[in-house]
């Protein structure tokens, strides 16, 4: 298990998330792809923390704290996003993005 292998996994997850966010029609699918990208970024933070800041008695865990903040922002984003999906579904009876044209003039 080396640092480059973990970074490769992160890069693959991130580009898959980009691909999914661009090709999905369903809002929920786009949110799932977003979560994939968040996870790839978190994996990179923690991997760099473990390898480049070696654990000594004084070395702090900055990468892990950043990953914690990413989890927090992802949770807030998911809650508001899913509430929006529910509100949109209640009004338009659809979760497909090409139907969401209320603001298109």
């Amino acid at each position: 298990m080396s640092l480059s292998l973990i970074l490769m996994v992160g890069a693959l997850m991130f580009s898959l998330g980009i691909y999914g966010a661009l090709t999905r029609r369903n809002v929920l699918g786009i949110l799932i792809s977003l979560e994939l990208m968040f996870n790839a970024a978190m994996l990179n933070f923690v991997a760099f923390n473990a390898y480049e800041l070696p654990h000594e008695s004084l070395s702090p865990l900055h990468g892990q704290v950043f990953a914690l903040f990413i989890i927090l922002v992802a949770a807030a984003e998911a809650v508001v996003g899913l509430a929006l999906v529910l509100a949109i579904y209640r009004n338009l009876k659809s979760v497909y993005v090409e139907k969401l044209t209320l603001l298109k003039w």
């Binding site: 980009i18 029609r25 480049e52 070696p54 949770a75």
Partner: protein, 171 residues
């Protein structure tokens, strides 16, 4: 050494879990299956946190991501799913540009990662991360910590506001 082999074995399992889960979450047709495979990826990432010495982060990942966000997503999938959704295409027709963009991000990253020379740093034994993270959160990162509480409060109020029905609205 057998412990290195054991570590490589577990890393292989976790990496397979992450990659298979990501492919499934992006490519499968049924949104329910996508959400469940996202859970697979989340567990894989949590296991990697554990291998990288983040035991507290592992617990937070399982509790908040799998236990919170994923369950919420499954609820919303079930609330907004209609039976004829299974016959509809879940993707648009822009496979080409999206694939090119994803490859344009993935390939340079892979080249850069494989050419970079990371120092050989030996990872030390397990340590108590909870105390250190708590100290960091209340000293170095105290301002982001307070901003985070505001963000969570705003998200909570927003979620209630968006999902609340208007009085008198029949549905």
């Amino acid at each position: 050494m057998w412990i290195n082999k054991l570590e490589a074995f577990f890393f292989l399992i976790l990496a397979c879990l992450c990659i298979v889960g990501s492919f499934g979450a992006v490519l499968l047709k049924n949104v329910m299956h996508c959400a469940l495979l996202l859970g697979c990826t989340l567990f894989g990432v949590a296991g990697m946190f554990l291998m990288l010495g983040g035991d507290f982060l592992f617990a937070v990942q399982v509790a908040v991501y799998v236990g919170g966000i994923l369950i919420l997503m499954l609820f919303v999938v079930m609330l907004t799913h209609r039976l004829y959704d299974r016959t509809l295409s879940q993707t648009n027709d822009r496979y080409g540009p999206a694939g090119i963009l994803a490859a344009m991000i993935l390939l340079p990253l892979c080249v850069a990662i494989s050419k970079a020379e990371f120092g050989e740093v030996a990872r030390a034994d397990a340590q108590e991360t909870v105390v250190k993270i708590g100290k960091l959160l209340l000293t170095t990162y105290v301002v982001p910590f307070e901003v985070a509480s505001l963000l969570l409060l705003g998200a909570m109020v927003g979620a209630i506001l968006f999902t609340k029905r208007d009085p008198g609205q029949e549905d």
